[in-house]
Point group: C2
């Protein structure tokens, strides 16, 4: 498929047309059929584990030969264990309640009609991701369960792996009487395919890009279709004057050091002036022990002189690394101002025992997740009970925060009458 002669536009139009047709069948598919497909895909993946690993080995060898960096090779590489957990993930999706068809808020109106809302699929979901073959199974499963057709465009380095996963997906769909084209993996590595995918408004209802900021920024600038995305995770923990000191230190430690490279990791610690003396020295000791570099403002450095000086840029930075920016602030209002100016509307937490400050922070911090006395690391579909997530949205339109099955659906109005007419 990578011959220079491939007409990418025609190919993508045909993929889009088939996806649109399949989306109608998926919207009407019953819960049992969707679950049967998910179970059959999981079984096929387990059965074909050796085949998947062989296809993946070819991808890894090519990637190494092309000089791909080790972190990327690591994400690309499948193991017997990761194949098993792909299958497990699909079974977990099968076990989730089916959101489609749920009717809510069905109430009588004075005219005698009943008006309610029915949950329905979005239609066709386009997913663009880097060379991580496990995303192929995961994304296909979430779209399938939510009654959508999906078009998957994974990183070109993972093409063999993705096609091997796709073969299992198609086998499972067929076993359940659902169309193959409900899940399509783009078979060309030509980058023009992405340009087509994100502009085919007649065939695609939403784009979910997963990967680095550069990729997501480019896609959301060029897309002519709604995008579910987040760009940055500049997450804050604000330790209020009335915080429990031990709790504040425990939460801040966890928010920064449990994992450095995730979008819900704390990047800036804000500390109320009146409690900074109690918080900063022990926290800095923990950070020093774990090799976390601290960069503070003048007030912080008066308390912990070993700290490096933070620049304006530090407060905008998503380090994704063992570095933490620190700032001493006057109160909850100053903390909210800082978060509004420097934050990325992802996840922010306050540590406090003060009711008014907790409520103010909850209400006024305009982020997709706002927390009281909990680690920012909890911002995650599994932790929130969504079962799985297709991504995290920091936008306010449609879905906000971790996006699970519900974010891949919409609600239409239904009206049940008895022959009523409008007067």
């Amino acid at each position: 498929m990578n011959s220079p002669k491939l007409d990418v536009k025609a190919y993508m139009q045909s993929v889009g047309r088939e996806a649109r047709a399949a989306s109608r069948r998926m919207a009407a598919a019953d819960t049992a059929a969707k679950n049967r497909a998910l179970e059959a895909i999981a079984a096929a993946i387990e059965r074909d584990s050796a085949k998947l690993l062989a296809a993946n080995a070819a991808d890894v060898a090519q990637a190494r030969a092309a000089g791909l960096d080790e972190a990327m090779v690591d994400r690309l590489t499948l193991t017997a264990k990761s194949v098993k957990s792909m299958a497990e993930g699909l079974r977990q999706i099968a076990a989730l309640p089916d959101p489609i068809g749920a009717i809510t808020d069905l109430n009588y109106r004075p005219t005698g009609i009943q008006v309610g809302r029915m949950r329905v699929p979005l239609g066709v979901v386009g997913i663009i991701y880097e060379a991580r073959p496990n995303v192929t199974a995961d994304a296909a499963g979430l779209c399938l369960k939510s009654g959508n057709a999906s078009i998957l465009r994974g990183g070109s380095e993972a093409l063999n792996s993705n096609l091997a996963v796709a073969a299992c997906v198609h086998e499972g769909l067929r076993a359940a009487g659902l169309p193959d084209s409900a899940v399509q993996v783009i078979e060309t590595t030509d980058r023009a395919a992405v340009g087509e995918l994100i502009t085919m408004r007649e065939f695609v209802d939403v784009i979910v890009p997963r990967g680095g900021k550069g990729l997501i920024e480019r896609i959301s600038n060029e897309a002519r279709i709604p995008v579910i995305k987040h760009l940055d995770g500049v997450c804050h923990v604000y330790v209020d004057a009335d915080a429990d000191v031990a709790m504040a230190i425990r939460v801040a430690d966890n928010a920064k050091t449990q994992r450095y490279g995730t979008c819900n990791t704390m990047e800036t610690l804000l500390v109320s002036r009146t409690i900074a003396d109690a918080i900063l020295p022990p926290l800095c000791k923990i950070c020093a022990d774990k090799g976390v570099e601290l960069r503070g403002d003048e007030a912080s450095r008066k308390i912990v002189p070993a700290m490096k000086a933070a620049t304006e840029e530090d407060y905008y930075a998503e380090y994704l690394a063992p570095i933490l920016a620190v700032r001493v602030v006057a109160d909850v209002d100053t903390a909210i101002e800082h978060i509004t100016k420097y934050g990325s509307q992802h996840t922010d937490a306050i540590i406090t025992n003060n009711y008014q400050n907790a409520m103010k922070f909850l209400r006024e911090v305009d982020s997709s997740s706002v927390m009281v006395n909990a680690s920012t690391r909890f911002a995650d579909g599994f932790e929130y009970g969504l079962g799985a997530e297709i991504g995290i949205s920091t936008d306010k339109f449609h879905a906000r925060g971790p996006v699970g099955l519900e974010g891949l659906t919409s609600q239409k109005y239904i009206v049940l009458g008895n022959g009523q007419v409008r007067g």
Copy 2:
């Protein structure tokens, strides 16, 4: 403001920046303040009725001199009665429950954190509409109550009227201690202002265009911001084999003839083959009496030979006029196929006593409102109990169907903990 020297880009950037700043204050405004503002605006509008009518008379005179057609002049013209109902509409919005801050689905997770969702404003809403001054008050009121800042761009012919309404709005906002810039009326008639408004992604969160299809199509093609919109209302009534004949005729009559020019008016009638003989002759008689022209397929014309022949284009048409396309179909599946092909995903109804067909139609018709045994004319925010609507959406992303206060909001996740960290 219409001097050729106005730097439209700089002006719009300044409007956007002020709206963004005001949106933060509006998000934090309490219910009492918002309601106080709405009541004060209503009172100012009633008190200034004569001033509003004078400003409007100037607009109308100019519009007539410029040769605007009578239908547009009619929509532009305010009367003492329509000023009164503007004020009344604002009081109704004040009486609606405040959606902002509502917390739902707050549940404990196994880790001990409580996860829920809090309803929050979208931020800044841009509204683009034709020369209808009553929309200025209505849109400002809905955005205000939902905690958003708004930027209003009405048709240039209504500028004096809109500025007179805006003066009342600003007086009311000030009386409640809210910022003037929470509602801004664009003061230039330069069309470039629209181009700026729909591309200022940093300052505007959603665009709501109201008006003709051409305007909406242009805006949604050029916008770089999400748009809440509908283009067409090609609405269907399908009379199933098992319909009650009298009910079917009553509903079809109402759906077509209660008003011709609205987006929820029926444009095509589909009739099951087995009941067409009973439905078409009496319905055609009613239509003939009311001056409605019928255009049918061959099968319909065999039953009512007086009917004109329908072309393929007739089934795509949104007449907004006393014309009705008619087609005889085999069954509910054929009806759904027709609606999928020719419809606009606005509002479609089935008339039936057959349970399975009703359920199939409800589930499989992919429109923003799907009805059983009720007139399509009910598709409306007031009729649905939303209190008022900012518009109707036929898209599936974010809001679908009539959009009231809730459609102008989003939900963020909130997490309440007790010092929990992630393991």
